[in-house]
Amino acid sequence: MLSPTARPTRRFTGRSNHLARKMAATLAVLSGLSQWTPSVHAQEGVAVKRGGVIRYGHFQEPACLFGGWVQQWYLQRQYSDNLVARSDDGKIAPWLAESWTISDDKKVYTFEIKPNVKFTDGTALDAQAIADNINGWLSNNPDLRNPTAAPYLSDSFELAKAIAPQRLQVTLKVPFEPLLNVFAQSSQGILSPTALKRGLAVNCEKPVGSGPFIVDKWRHGREVTFRRNPDYNSAPAIAKHQGPAYVDGISWKFLPDQTVRYGSLITGETDAIYDIPAVAWKDANSRFAVLRHITGGTPLRLALYAARPPFDDVLVRKAFAYSTDRKAAVDTSFLGSLPFEGNGALSQSSPEYLHELGQAYAYDIRKANQLLDQAGWTERDRNGVRVKNGNSLTVRISYSNAFLKPDGEQALQVIQQQARAAGFDVRLQPTNPADFFAGRNLGPDDYEIVLLYWVAPGAEIFRISWKPDQNGEPNRFNPSRFQDSALWEVIQRAEQDFSSAERKGLYQQAERKIVDEAPVIGFTVLDVTLATSPSLKDVWLDHGSVGEPVFYDAHFDERK
């Protein structure tokens, strides 16, 4: 999202005017960015204790220390820097880019890169290094291609090049307003081009960035250890301080069992843990500092396979939604700790979220039965399951605990029972994470519903979810297989519209259409929760991005 002050108000055609315009725009951006001077740290003036290692208990262990899964972003946030940051209120803030301008046609972005920054392997972090990263993200080189940036930018991106040692130019084929939002996500952290030449396998184990921490060692199945980058000088404007991190390092432990993870915080074996169990939510709030961020992008939702029966019929999709009291299922299963989300299109923390869609398809079994009758599913077998042309109304739900917390499986069992009353035979297909990522139970004939999410700051996620198949190449991020050219047209118009109000209006138009067609049904919000011990201060979640835990500003209090 562009800072409002950066938007040129006139269109200049002459060369001199062009230069003048660029200078004016740059000055405007710089003046606007004065708000981003490092904020005074709450502890400044008081001696902040340095040293100590944060013992952090995390849930899931990815296969690589960077990549497209949000669990990888959390790690990458610790050791790499981004071109820009995004603040809590959605404004784009400087990070490696101290300032930037956007051309009148919205196709050329010119970034002024912070000087004297180095990667932790000694490579200079200049405009060329960033250009190499960005071009690699959009290339077909599997060692460099970025699974998050590529689906966002592959249609619009043309080239990134260094036009001066500290000046980067990114050229687009067509305007794409969410470009800076995409650059602000941790998966787009800039990595050392020297290190990237070692190949993906080596980089997965020990990636090299310019961030506040350096990946020291990854003991698979146990932990990743980070040590402080003593020369760190490139913190984002949204950080609470500048310079090296306060702590000596992080011991990022993988504790997949939630009882063990929470227990480790109670017994003092960890200083902070991720994902507070629902059953311990109240206890955690009374004993520890609790941080929560509801991620933007999509909520955790049920994607209904709309390309074949039974869910190729919108009436059946809506009937399934009405037949399940998802709010009660979520409220009970998560013991009130996690809000229900009825808007399947967009998460409630996205700026374009429509609150009136938050309770869409509230439980109404009578309506569900009416819709199914209307759709021709009028007969029932002896078990009460509806039948049409000899086919049972069987619905297989594929899910994995990579995406679903343990309590979520309980909620699915509630849905299973409730939908039965309307005549759905719901079968649950739990799949372990390794199999799930390998595509088990995700083939075109393997499921009728799959439970998934995709995090992003806002509605730019629509491009990922709803881009129609191109030249016979299926959009693998669209598990509902719902394809609507009118919807795609609206999404594209929104992406190219630099007027905040109009863009928001277009995205909301798309949002209504998605909810109305019901290829996805809301389930829960996707949240990031952290509990920290009282002795650990100033840990924060990156609300502007997708809630990555940030330990850069953290420090232990004097008593420890």
Partner: protein
């Protein structure tokens, strides 16, 4: 005038009564436990107090009470009824897996013992290799490849435990093959298949009766382990391992969800082990 009535008890019934009269208390208690779970497996509705799958969101996480003897789970389902419902699947997996492993073991063990030579060496090496792989690991691989279900659990545990039985059968067969009565039968000119059928097999199998009984309990534990790891039957089936898996998230706040299914597995497996041990002692003439 009184008339004395002589009651004649048939010999097998008499032996049974004698067995019951002299059975130790621990064995009697174990038999009663096994009987209870077998009844629960065959006719669960007779013993259940609630529908084991019925969700009642208003009764979530209730501790044991008069209404819900063993408490309720997060979705308000009656845990006592779910444990009984799970007995069917757990027992089916235990019996099925043991039957499968015994069948495989019998074929391979007998073939190795009777053939001797190269085939014996090859089969023995295969047993050794399979024996070196932990049962749970072998079962894990199998379930991962073929997907979780009751059938794959039966096959996974059955194949995982078969090498141990095969080795045991081979050893039994070899020891009996060299006994005097087998040599005598050979000297009398009995054909070898008849010797195997009449003399070797029955004597080799007797000690295995006890092992099978113990093996059923062991198989239930393996299957529960798989389900605990999320590789068992799909929800909402209340297989004991799956109940343990679901309960572990609440172990601090709702102990009954973890303790009760754990006790069911332990008590049932222990009962089978006690009865198996008693049988073994009797067959070996120790009691």
């Amino acid at each position: 005038m009184s008339r004395s009535v002589e009651v004649t008890v048939s010999r097998p019934l008499g032996e049974l009564l004698e067995f019951i009269c002299y059975v130790p208390f621990r064995v009697a208690a174990s038999l009663a436990t096994i009987g209870f779970f077998v009844l629960a497996a065959i006719a669960p509705k007779v013993l259940q107090t609630h529908d084991p799958l019925a969700i009642d969101l208003s009764s979530s996480l209730q501790s044991p009470s008069i209404v819900h003897w063993l408490g309720t789970d997060q979705l308000g389902r009656d845990l006592y009824s779910r444990v009984l419902e799970g007995a069917g699947q757990s027992l089916a997996i235990g019996l099925g897996a043991t039957a499968l492993s015994m069948s495989v073991a019998l074929i391979l063990g007998v073939a190795a013992a009777l053939s001797g030579g190269l085939l014996d060496s090859i089969l023995t090496r295969i047993f050794d290799v399979l024996f070196a792989i932990p049962t749970l690991l072998l079962a894990l691989v199998f379930v991962t490849v073929f997907g979780p279900s009751v059938l794959t659990e039966v096959i996974a545990v059955g194949i995982g435990t078969a090498p141990g039985y095969a080795r045991m059968i081979r050893g039994q067969m070899l020891s009996i093959k060299g006994t005097g009565y087998v040599e005598a039968a050979k000297a009398l000119g009995h054909p070898f298949p008849r010797i195997v059928w009449r003399h070797i097999l029955p004597n080799a199998m007797s000690p295995l009766t006890a092992m099978v009984t113990i093996g059923v309990g062991q198989a239930i534990i393996w299957a529960s382990g798989l389900a605990f790891l999320g590789l068992g039957v799909a929800p909402p089936a209340p297989e004991w391992g799956a109940l343990l898996n679901a309960g572990r998230n609440y172990v601090i706040y709702a102990w009954w969800l973890e303790i009760i299914p754990g006790l069911a597995v332990t008590i049932f497996a222990l009962s089978l082990t006690i009865v198996g041990g008693h049988l073994q002692d009797r067959l070996e003439g120790k009691i």
